[in-house]
Protein backbone atom coordinates (compact mmCIF):
# COMPACT_ATOMS: atom_id res chain seq x y z
CA UNK A 1 0.00 0.00 0.00
CA UNK A 2 2.79 2.38 1.00
CA UNK A 3 4.68 1.42 -2.11
CA UNK A 4 1.63 2.08 -4.29
CA UNK A 5 1.17 5.49 -2.70
CA UNK A 6 4.81 6.28 -3.30
CA UNK A 7 4.60 5.25 -6.97
CA UNK A 8 1.42 7.30 -7.45
CA UNK A 9 3.09 10.34 -5.95
CA UNK A 10 6.12 9.91 -8.20
CA UNK A 11 3.79 9.66 -11.18
CA UNK A 12 1.92 12.79 -10.11
CA UNK A 13 5.20 14.66 -9.81
CA UNK A 14 6.36 13.45 -13.19
CA UNK A 15 3.00 14.34 -14.74
CA UNK A 16 3.17 17.85 -13.25
CA UNK A 17 6.65 18.48 -14.60
CA UNK A 18 5.85 16.93 -17.97
CA UNK A 19 2.60 18.93 -18.07
CA UNK A 20 4.54 22.13 -17.45
CA UNK A 21 6.87 21.33 -20.32
CA UNK A 22 4.02 20.43 -22.68
CA UNK A 23 1.95 23.53 -21.85
CA UNK A 24 4.95 25.78 -22.31
CA UNK A 25 5.84 24.08 -25.59
CA UNK A 26 2.39 24.35 -27.13
CA UNK A 27 1.85 27.89 -25.83
CA UNK A 28 4.84 28.87 -27.92
CA UNK A 29 3.89 26.76 -30.93
CA UNK A 30 0.09 26.91 -31.29
CA UNK A 31 -1.87 30.11 -31.60
CA UNK A 32 -5.07 28.63 -30.16
CA UNK A 33 -3.21 27.34 -27.12
CA UNK A 34 -1.42 30.66 -26.61
CA UNK A 35 -4.68 32.58 -26.72
CA UNK A 36 -6.42 30.09 -24.43
CA UNK A 37 -3.60 30.42 -21.89
CA UNK A 38 -3.75 34.21 -22.10
CA UNK A 39 -7.54 34.16 -21.73
CA UNK A 40 -7.22 32.00 -18.62
CA UNK A 41 -4.51 34.30 -17.22
CA UNK A 42 -6.81 37.28 -17.66
CA UNK A 43 -9.70 35.43 -16.02
CA UNK A 44 -7.62 34.35 -13.03
CA UNK A 45 -6.24 37.85 -12.56
CA UNK A 46 -9.77 39.22 -12.67
CA UNK A 47 -11.28 36.66 -10.30
CA UNK A 48 -8.50 35.92 -7.80
CA UNK A 49 -5.83 37.90 -5.94
CA UNK A 50 -3.04 36.18 -7.82
CA UNK A 51 -0.14 38.04 -6.17
CA UNK A 52 -1.41 37.29 -2.68
CA UNK A 53 -2.03 33.64 -3.59
CA UNK A 54 1.44 33.39 -5.07
CA UNK A 55 3.11 34.76 -1.94
CA UNK A 56 1.00 32.60 0.37
CA UNK A 57 1.74 29.36 -1.48
CA UNK A 58 5.43 30.20 -1.65
CA UNK A 59 5.54 30.90 2.10
CA UNK A 60 3.75 27.64 2.94
CA UNK A 61 5.96 25.51 0.71
CA UNK A 62 9.17 27.14 1.97
CA UNK A 63 8.05 26.66 5.57
CA UNK A 64 7.13 23.02 5.02
CA UNK A 65 10.41 22.34 3.23
CA UNK A 66 12.37 23.82 6.13
CA UNK A 67 10.33 21.86 8.69
CA UNK A 68 10.74 18.54 6.89
CA UNK A 69 14.43 19.18 6.42
CA UNK A 70 14.89 20.01 10.11
CA UNK A 71 13.09 16.79 11.07
CA UNK A 72 15.34 14.96 8.68
CA UNK A 73 18.47 16.49 10.24
CA UNK A 74 17.26 15.37 13.66
CA UNK A 75 17.02 11.82 12.39
CA UNK A 76 19.95 11.96 10.04
CA UNK A 77 21.70 9.01 11.68
CA UNK A 78 18.84 6.64 10.95
CA UNK A 79 18.34 7.96 7.43
CA UNK A 80 19.28 5.87 4.42
CA UNK A 81 20.58 7.10 1.08
CA UNK A 82 17.08 7.22 -0.39
CA UNK A 83 15.86 9.58 2.31
CA UNK A 84 18.86 11.81 1.73
CA UNK A 85 18.16 11.96 -1.99
CA UNK A 86 14.45 12.59 -1.32
CA UNK A 87 15.43 15.61 0.76
CA UNK A 88 17.77 16.86 -1.93
CA UNK A 89 15.03 16.56 -4.58
CA UNK A 90 12.56 18.26 -2.22
CA UNK A 91 14.88 21.23 -1.80
CA UNK A 92 15.57 21.35 -5.54
CA UNK A 93 11.89 21.28 -6.46
CA UNK A 94 11.00 23.94 -3.89
CA UNK A 95 13.87 26.05 -5.21
CA UNK A 96 12.65 25.51 -8.77
CA UNK A 97 9.13 26.57 -7.83
CA UNK A 98 10.17 29.60 -5.78
CA UNK A 99 12.84 30.86 -8.15
CA UNK A 100 10.59 30.43 -11.20
CA UNK A 101 7.67 32.14 -9.48
CA UNK A 102 9.83 35.05 -8.32
CA UNK A 103 12.02 35.52 -11.39
CA UNK A 104 9.49 34.88 -14.15
CA UNK A 105 6.22 36.69 -14.76
CA UNK A 106 3.19 36.71 -17.04
CA UNK A 107 4.91 39.38 -19.12
CA UNK A 108 7.98 37.25 -19.77
CA UNK A 109 6.22 33.90 -20.10
CA UNK A 110 2.65 33.47 -21.27
CA UNK A 111 2.15 30.16 -19.47
CA UNK A 112 3.57 31.60 -16.23
CA UNK A 113 0.61 30.79 -13.96
CA UNK A 114 0.24 27.28 -15.36
CA UNK A 115 3.95 26.54 -14.97
CA UNK A 116 4.08 28.05 -11.52
CA UNK A 117 1.06 25.98 -10.46
CA UNK A 118 2.50 22.76 -11.86
CA UNK A 119 5.94 23.37 -10.33
CA UNK A 120 4.13 24.09 -7.06
CA UNK A 121 2.22 20.80 -7.26
CA UNK A 122 5.44 18.89 -7.95
CA UNK A 123 7.17 20.58 -5.01
CA UNK A 124 4.19 19.99 -2.69
CA UNK A 125 4.00 16.31 -3.59
CA UNK A 126 7.72 15.91 -2.97
CA UNK A 127 7.42 17.69 0.40
CA UNK A 128 4.55 15.40 1.36
CA UNK A 129 6.43 12.31 0.25
CA UNK A 130 9.64 13.31 1.99
CA UNK A 131 7.79 14.36 5.13
CA UNK A 132 6.04 11.00 5.33
CA UNK A 133 9.32 9.17 4.76
CA UNK A 134 11.08 11.18 7.50
CA UNK A 135 8.24 10.52 9.93
CA UNK A 136 8.24 6.82 9.14
CA UNK A 137 11.98 6.70 9.52
CA UNK A 138 11.61 8.23 12.98
CA UNK A 139 8.87 5.74 13.82
CA UNK A 140 11.07 2.81 12.88
CA UNK A 141 13.96 4.08 14.98
CA UNK A 142 11.61 4.71 17.94
CA UNK A 143 10.35 1.14 17.68
CA UNK A 144 13.91 -0.16 17.85
Amino acid sequence: MKKLGYVLMVLLEAASLAGAYIINYFTNKKMGMARWVIYKNQGWERDYPMDTLKMAVMAVLILLTILVFLFFLKRKREAGKLLISMNVVMILLTLLYVSYTVISSRETMRAYYFLSLLFGIAAAVQILKTGAAVLMCGKKSDEK
Binding site: Y6, V7, V10, E13, A14, L17, A18, A20, Y21, N24, Y25, N28, K29, M31, G32, A34, R35, W36, I38, Y39, K40, Q42, L82, S85, M86, V89, L92, L93, L96, Y100, M109, L115, A122, Q126
Partner: protein, 360 residues
Protein backbone atom coordinates in the same frame (compact mmCIF):
# COMPACT_ATOMS: atom_id res chain seq x y z
CA UNK B 1 15.37 0.40 -4.04
CA UNK B 2 16.38 0.49 -7.70
CA UNK B 3 12.89 1.56 -8.70
CA UNK B 4 12.98 4.41 -6.21
CA UNK B 5 16.34 5.50 -7.49
CA UNK B 6 15.01 5.48 -11.05
CA UNK B 7 12.07 7.60 -9.92
CA UNK B 8 14.39 10.15 -8.34
CA UNK B 9 16.50 10.24 -11.50
CA UNK B 10 13.36 10.66 -13.61
CA UNK B 11 12.32 13.69 -11.58
CA UNK B 12 15.77 15.23 -11.91
CA UNK B 13 15.75 14.62 -15.66
CA UNK B 14 12.32 16.26 -15.95
CA UNK B 15 13.55 19.34 -14.10
CA UNK B 16 16.63 19.51 -16.30
CA UNK B 17 14.63 19.14 -19.51
CA UNK B 18 12.17 21.79 -18.35
CA UNK B 19 14.98 24.19 -17.64
CA UNK B 20 16.21 23.67 -21.19
CA UNK B 21 12.70 23.90 -22.67
CA UNK B 22 11.75 27.05 -20.79
CA UNK B 23 14.94 28.81 -21.64
CA UNK B 24 14.86 28.17 -25.34
CA UNK B 25 14.64 31.32 -27.33
CA UNK B 26 14.40 31.84 -31.03
CA UNK B 27 17.61 32.23 -32.89
CA UNK B 28 17.44 34.24 -36.00
CA UNK B 29 19.67 33.46 -38.85
CA UNK B 30 20.18 36.40 -41.03
CA UNK B 31 20.73 36.78 -44.69
CA UNK B 32 20.85 39.56 -47.19
CA UNK B 33 18.08 42.07 -47.56
CA UNK B 34 15.34 41.75 -50.14
CA UNK B 35 16.30 39.57 -53.08
CA UNK B 36 20.02 40.15 -52.89
CA UNK B 37 21.84 36.93 -52.16
CA UNK B 38 18.76 34.77 -52.53
CA UNK B 39 19.24 31.71 -54.69
CA UNK B 40 15.80 32.06 -56.17
CA UNK B 41 16.37 35.64 -57.19
CA UNK B 42 19.57 34.70 -58.95
CA UNK B 43 17.47 32.85 -61.50
CA UNK B 44 16.73 35.10 -64.42
CA UNK B 45 13.30 36.64 -64.24
CA UNK B 46 11.82 39.60 -66.02
CA UNK B 47 8.10 39.48 -65.49
CA UNK B 48 6.10 42.36 -66.89
CA UNK B 49 2.70 43.06 -65.36
CA UNK B 50 0.24 45.90 -65.66
CA UNK B 51 0.71 48.57 -63.01
CA UNK B 52 -2.00 48.74 -60.35
CA UNK B 53 -3.54 51.63 -58.48
CA UNK B 54 -2.18 52.53 -55.06
CA UNK B 55 -5.53 51.65 -53.52
CA UNK B 56 -5.61 48.21 -55.14
CA UNK B 57 -4.98 45.67 -52.37
CA UNK B 58 -5.23 42.17 -53.81
CA UNK B 59 -2.53 41.69 -56.40
CA UNK B 60 -1.47 38.76 -58.55
CA UNK B 61 1.73 36.73 -58.24
CA UNK B 62 2.73 38.17 -61.62
CA UNK B 63 2.54 41.69 -60.27
CA UNK B 64 4.57 40.80 -57.18
CA UNK B 65 7.22 39.11 -59.30
CA UNK B 66 7.33 42.13 -61.58
CA UNK B 67 7.99 44.31 -58.52
CA UNK B 68 10.83 42.01 -57.50
CA UNK B 69 12.17 42.11 -61.05
CA UNK B 70 12.30 45.89 -60.92
CA UNK B 71 9.56 46.43 -63.47
CA UNK B 72 7.14 48.48 -61.40
CA UNK B 73 7.23 51.92 -59.91
CA UNK B 74 6.99 50.22 -56.51
CA UNK B 75 10.23 48.31 -57.16
CA UNK B 76 12.34 51.11 -55.73
CA UNK B 77 10.95 50.85 -52.20
CA UNK B 78 9.07 47.77 -51.16
CA UNK B 79 8.93 45.19 -48.41
CA UNK B 80 7.42 41.72 -48.66
CA UNK B 81 5.99 40.21 -45.48
CA UNK B 82 5.11 36.58 -44.87
CA UNK B 83 2.40 36.99 -42.24
CA UNK B 84 1.56 34.25 -39.75
CA UNK B 85 1.29 33.68 -36.04
CA UNK B 86 4.36 32.68 -34.09
CA UNK B 87 8.08 32.99 -34.38
CA UNK B 88 9.80 32.69 -37.73
CA UNK B 89 11.22 29.25 -36.97
CA UNK B 90 7.71 27.95 -36.28
CA UNK B 91 6.23 29.28 -39.49
CA UNK B 92 6.21 26.57 -42.18
CA UNK B 93 5.09 29.08 -44.79
CA UNK B 94 8.36 30.90 -44.16
CA UNK B 95 10.84 28.15 -43.38
CA UNK B 96 9.73 25.75 -46.12
CA UNK B 97 10.10 28.37 -48.80
CA UNK B 98 9.00 31.98 -48.93
CA UNK B 99 8.75 34.66 -51.57
CA UNK B 100 12.31 35.87 -52.25
CA UNK B 101 13.30 38.71 -49.99
CA UNK B 102 10.32 38.31 -47.67
CA UNK B 103 10.55 38.92 -43.94
CA UNK B 104 8.49 37.00 -41.43
CA UNK B 105 5.82 39.05 -39.65
CA UNK B 106 4.46 37.51 -36.46
CA UNK B 107 0.84 38.65 -36.12
CA UNK B 108 1.45 39.06 -32.39
CA UNK B 109 3.59 42.04 -33.37
CA UNK B 110 0.51 43.95 -34.52
CA UNK B 111 -1.96 42.74 -31.87
CA UNK B 112 -1.94 43.34 -28.13
CA UNK B 113 -2.74 40.50 -25.77
CA UNK B 114 -5.37 42.33 -23.82
CA UNK B 115 -8.15 42.16 -26.43
CA UNK B 116 -6.20 41.12 -29.53
CA UNK B 117 -6.82 44.60 -30.87
CA UNK B 118 -4.25 46.45 -32.94
CA UNK B 119 -1.39 47.59 -30.74
CA UNK B 120 -0.86 51.18 -29.68
CA UNK B 121 0.22 53.78 -32.23
CA UNK B 122 3.69 53.91 -30.65
CA UNK B 123 4.15 50.16 -30.85
CA UNK B 124 2.98 49.96 -34.45
CA UNK B 125 5.21 52.85 -35.47
CA UNK B 126 8.22 51.17 -33.87
CA UNK B 127 7.34 47.92 -35.61
CA UNK B 128 7.18 49.67 -38.96
CA UNK B 129 10.50 51.39 -38.37
CA UNK B 130 12.10 48.09 -37.35
CA UNK B 131 10.95 46.57 -40.62
CA UNK B 132 12.30 49.48 -42.63
CA UNK B 133 8.83 50.69 -43.57
CA UNK B 134 7.96 54.34 -44.11
CA UNK B 135 4.61 55.69 -45.24
CA UNK B 136 5.90 55.59 -48.82
CA UNK B 137 7.14 52.01 -48.75
CA UNK B 138 5.01 49.52 -50.66
CA UNK B 139 4.19 46.69 -48.29
CA UNK B 140 3.24 43.37 -49.88
CA UNK B 141 1.71 40.97 -47.36
CA UNK B 142 0.90 37.35 -47.89
CA UNK B 143 -0.34 34.38 -45.91
CA UNK B 144 -0.41 30.68 -46.42
CA UNK B 145 -3.34 30.74 -48.88
CA UNK B 146 -6.35 32.76 -49.94
CA UNK B 147 -8.50 31.80 -46.97
CA UNK B 148 -5.87 32.61 -44.37
CA UNK B 149 -6.42 36.16 -43.14
CA UNK B 150 -3.15 36.81 -41.31
CA UNK B 151 -1.93 38.99 -44.17
CA UNK B 152 -5.20 40.93 -44.29
CA UNK B 153 -4.90 41.54 -40.56
CA UNK B 154 -1.42 43.00 -40.96
CA UNK B 155 -2.48 44.94 -44.07
CA UNK B 156 -5.32 46.74 -42.32
CA UNK B 157 -3.08 47.58 -39.35
CA UNK B 158 -0.54 49.19 -41.67
CA UNK B 159 -3.18 51.09 -43.64
CA UNK B 160 -4.52 52.38 -40.33
CA UNK B 161 -1.00 53.40 -39.37
CA UNK B 162 -0.51 55.37 -42.56
CA UNK B 163 1.33 53.18 -45.07
CA UNK B 164 -0.12 54.42 -48.33
CA UNK B 165 0.46 51.44 -50.58
CA UNK B 166 -0.40 48.12 -48.98
CA UNK B 167 -0.94 44.98 -51.01
CA UNK B 168 -1.94 41.40 -50.32
CA UNK B 169 -0.71 38.63 -52.57
CA UNK B 170 -4.06 37.29 -53.76
CA UNK B 171 -4.27 33.59 -52.98
CA UNK B 172 -1.23 33.73 -50.73
CA UNK B 173 1.79 31.49 -50.96
CA UNK B 174 -0.34 28.77 -52.56
CA UNK B 175 -1.05 31.05 -55.53
CA UNK B 176 2.64 32.00 -55.71
CA UNK B 177 3.65 28.37 -55.86
CA UNK B 178 0.90 27.56 -58.36
CA UNK B 179 2.22 30.34 -60.58
CA UNK B 180 5.56 28.58 -60.55
CA UNK B 181 7.61 31.41 -59.12
CA UNK B 182 10.73 30.70 -57.14
CA UNK B 183 10.98 30.66 -53.38
CA UNK B 184 13.88 30.79 -50.99
CA UNK B 185 14.22 29.31 -47.54
CA UNK B 186 16.92 31.36 -45.86
CA UNK B 187 15.98 33.98 -43.31
CA UNK B 188 15.96 37.66 -44.19
CA UNK B 189 16.46 40.43 -41.70
CA UNK B 190 15.00 43.90 -42.31
CA UNK B 191 17.06 47.05 -42.04
CA UNK B 192 15.49 49.58 -39.70
CA UNK B 193 14.68 53.15 -40.66
CA UNK B 194 14.34 56.15 -38.38
CA UNK B 195 11.40 58.14 -39.65
CA UNK B 196 7.99 56.87 -40.68
CA UNK B 197 6.97 60.12 -42.33
CA UNK B 198 3.59 60.82 -40.78
CA UNK B 199 1.75 60.60 -37.50
CA UNK B 200 0.55 57.11 -36.58
CA UNK B 201 -2.31 56.41 -36.97
CA UNK B 202 -2.86 58.40 -40.11
CA UNK B 203 -6.27 56.77 -40.53
CA UNK B 204 -7.88 56.28 -37.13
CA UNK B 205 -11.25 56.26 -38.90
CA UNK B 206 -10.57 52.74 -40.19
CA UNK B 207 -11.06 51.29 -36.71
CA UNK B 208 -14.22 51.77 -34.68
CA UNK B 209 -14.27 51.29 -30.92
CA UNK B 210 -16.80 49.24 -28.98
CA UNK B 211 -18.22 52.43 -27.47
CA UNK B 212 -18.83 53.95 -30.88
CA UNK B 213 -20.38 50.71 -32.13
CA UNK B 214 -22.81 50.71 -29.20
CA UNK B 215 -23.67 54.35 -29.75
CA UNK B 216 -24.25 53.95 -33.49
CA UNK B 217 -26.30 50.78 -33.07
CA UNK B 218 -28.66 52.76 -30.87
CA UNK B 219 -28.75 56.05 -32.69
CA UNK B 220 -27.81 55.62 -36.33
CA UNK B 221 -30.17 53.74 -38.65
CA UNK B 222 -27.67 53.85 -41.48
CA UNK B 223 -25.09 52.00 -39.42
CA UNK B 224 -24.78 48.24 -39.89
CA UNK B 225 -22.63 45.99 -37.74
CA UNK B 226 -21.66 43.06 -39.95
CA UNK B 227 -20.60 39.72 -38.52
CA UNK B 228 -17.95 37.94 -40.58
CA UNK B 229 -18.24 34.68 -38.71
CA UNK B 230 -19.34 31.15 -39.45
CA UNK B 231 -23.02 30.23 -39.53
CA UNK B 232 -22.59 28.23 -36.31
CA UNK B 233 -21.08 31.27 -34.61
CA UNK B 234 -23.76 33.53 -36.04
CA UNK B 235 -26.51 31.27 -34.70
CA UNK B 236 -24.89 31.05 -31.29
CA UNK B 237 -24.10 27.35 -31.47
CA UNK B 238 -20.42 27.90 -30.72
CA UNK B 239 -18.16 30.78 -29.80
CA UNK B 240 -15.82 29.60 -32.53
CA UNK B 241 -12.82 29.83 -30.22
CA UNK B 242 -11.33 27.54 -27.59
CA UNK B 243 -10.73 30.52 -25.35
CA UNK B 244 -14.18 32.12 -25.55
CA UNK B 245 -16.85 30.45 -23.43
CA UNK B 246 -19.92 32.34 -24.61
CA UNK B 247 -21.65 32.24 -27.98
CA UNK B 248 -23.86 34.85 -29.60
CA UNK B 249 -23.66 38.11 -31.48
CA UNK B 250 -23.96 41.77 -30.51
CA UNK B 251 -27.62 42.79 -30.53
CA UNK B 252 -28.44 44.36 -33.89
CA UNK B 253 -25.69 42.70 -35.92
CA UNK B 254 -26.32 41.32 -39.40
CA UNK B 255 -24.53 38.40 -41.03
CA UNK B 256 -21.97 38.94 -43.76
CA UNK B 257 -20.87 35.30 -44.06
CA UNK B 258 -17.53 33.85 -43.07
CA UNK B 259 -14.17 34.13 -44.80
CA UNK B 260 -12.73 30.95 -43.28
CA UNK B 261 -15.24 28.76 -45.13
CA UNK B 262 -14.24 30.15 -48.50
CA UNK B 263 -17.24 32.46 -48.91
CA UNK B 264 -14.84 35.26 -49.85
CA UNK B 265 -12.71 33.14 -52.17
CA UNK B 266 -13.13 32.25 -55.81
CA UNK B 267 -12.55 28.67 -56.86
CA UNK B 268 -8.90 29.43 -57.57
CA UNK B 269 -8.36 30.81 -54.07
CA UNK B 270 -8.33 34.46 -55.08
CA UNK B 271 -10.46 37.06 -53.31
CA UNK B 272 -14.00 37.74 -54.53
CA UNK B 273 -15.18 41.06 -55.86
CA UNK B 274 -17.30 43.64 -54.09
CA UNK B 275 -20.41 42.24 -55.82
CA UNK B 276 -20.22 39.12 -53.65
CA UNK B 277 -20.11 41.23 -50.50
CA UNK B 278 -23.02 43.25 -51.84
CA UNK B 279 -24.99 40.02 -52.22
CA UNK B 280 -24.28 38.96 -48.64
CA UNK B 281 -25.36 42.36 -47.34
CA UNK B 282 -28.55 42.27 -49.39
CA UNK B 283 -29.59 39.07 -47.56
CA UNK B 284 -30.06 41.25 -44.48
CA UNK B 285 -31.49 44.25 -46.27
CA UNK B 286 -28.22 46.17 -46.09
CA UNK B 287 -26.16 47.58 -48.92
CA UNK B 288 -22.79 49.06 -49.74
CA UNK B 289 -24.31 52.50 -49.12
CA UNK B 290 -24.72 51.86 -45.41
CA UNK B 291 -22.00 52.70 -42.93
CA UNK B 292 -20.57 49.22 -42.43
CA UNK B 293 -18.54 48.04 -39.46
CA UNK B 294 -17.13 44.55 -39.98
CA UNK B 295 -16.18 42.34 -37.08
CA UNK B 296 -15.42 38.71 -36.34
CA UNK B 297 -13.86 37.14 -33.24
CA UNK B 298 -10.72 39.21 -32.93
CA UNK B 299 -10.33 41.13 -36.17
CA UNK B 300 -8.71 38.82 -38.71
CA UNK B 301 -11.57 37.62 -40.91
CA UNK B 302 -13.34 40.97 -40.85
CA UNK B 303 -10.30 42.59 -42.44
CA UNK B 304 -11.09 40.91 -45.76
CA UNK B 305 -14.44 42.63 -46.61
CA UNK B 306 -12.94 45.87 -45.33
CA UNK B 307 -10.06 45.56 -47.78
CA UNK B 308 -12.40 44.56 -50.61
CA UNK B 309 -14.34 47.78 -50.07
CA UNK B 310 -11.14 49.79 -49.63
CA UNK B 311 -9.70 48.71 -52.96
CA UNK B 312 -12.98 49.53 -54.67
CA UNK B 313 -12.80 53.10 -53.46
CA UNK B 314 -15.34 52.95 -50.64
CA UNK B 315 -14.78 55.01 -47.51
CA UNK B 316 -17.93 54.12 -45.56
CA UNK B 317 -16.52 51.03 -43.85
CA UNK B 318 -14.73 50.34 -40.58
CA UNK B 319 -13.30 47.46 -38.65
CA UNK B 320 -14.79 46.84 -35.22
CA UNK B 321 -11.53 45.40 -34.01
CA UNK B 322 -12.67 44.12 -30.62
CA UNK B 323 -15.17 41.75 -32.23
CA UNK B 324 -17.11 39.18 -30.26
CA UNK B 325 -14.13 38.66 -27.93
CA UNK B 326 -14.38 42.16 -26.51
CA UNK B 327 -18.18 42.31 -26.68
CA UNK B 328 -18.66 39.22 -24.53
CA UNK B 329 -16.35 40.53 -21.81
CA UNK B 330 -18.97 42.92 -20.46
CA UNK B 331 -21.92 41.16 -18.81
CA UNK B 332 -24.25 44.08 -19.50
CA UNK B 333 -23.77 44.12 -23.29
CA UNK B 334 -26.92 43.20 -25.25
CA UNK B 335 -26.76 40.01 -27.26
CA UNK B 336 -28.82 38.13 -29.82
CA UNK B 337 -28.60 34.34 -30.02
CA UNK B 338 -29.96 32.90 -33.24
CA UNK B 339 -31.10 34.40 -36.50
CA UNK B 340 -32.65 37.79 -35.68
CA UNK B 341 -35.07 37.33 -38.60
CA UNK B 342 -36.61 34.28 -36.92
CA UNK B 343 -38.97 34.12 -33.95
CA UNK B 344 -36.56 31.78 -32.15
CA UNK B 345 -33.90 34.45 -31.73
CA UNK B 346 -33.16 35.05 -28.05
CA UNK B 347 -32.44 38.62 -27.01
CA UNK B 348 -30.49 38.78 -23.78
CA UNK B 349 -27.27 40.09 -22.25
CA UNK B 350 -23.76 38.62 -22.08
CA UNK B 351 -24.16 37.87 -18.39
CA UNK B 352 -27.11 35.57 -19.09
CA UNK B 353 -25.28 33.46 -21.67
CA UNK B 354 -24.15 29.96 -20.87
CA UNK B 355 -20.40 29.46 -20.60
CA UNK B 356 -20.16 26.09 -22.32
CA UNK B 357 -19.87 27.26 -25.90
CA UNK B 358 -16.12 27.26 -26.38
CA UNK B 359 -15.00 25.52 -29.55
CA UNK B 360 -13.39 22.16 -28.93
Amino acid sequence: MKKKLVSVLLCTAMVASLAVGCGSDTQEETAGENTEGADAAEEESDVQADPVDTKKVYVTPDWVQSVIDGNQEESSDYVILECSWGEEEDSPSYTKGHVPGAYHMNTDSVESEEMWNIRSAEEIEQLLLDYGITKDTTVICYGEDGVNSADDRVAIAFLWAGVENVKCLDGGLAAWNDAGYATESESNEPEAVEEFGTTVPAHPEYIISIDDVQDKLENDDNFKLVSIRSEAEWLGETSGYSYIDRAGEPEGAIWGHDTDDGSYCNDDGTTVGVDVLEGYLAESGASLDNELAFYCGTGWRAAIPFLIMYENGYTNMELYDGGWYQWQMDDSNPVQVGDPASDDCVHTTVGELSTDKAAE
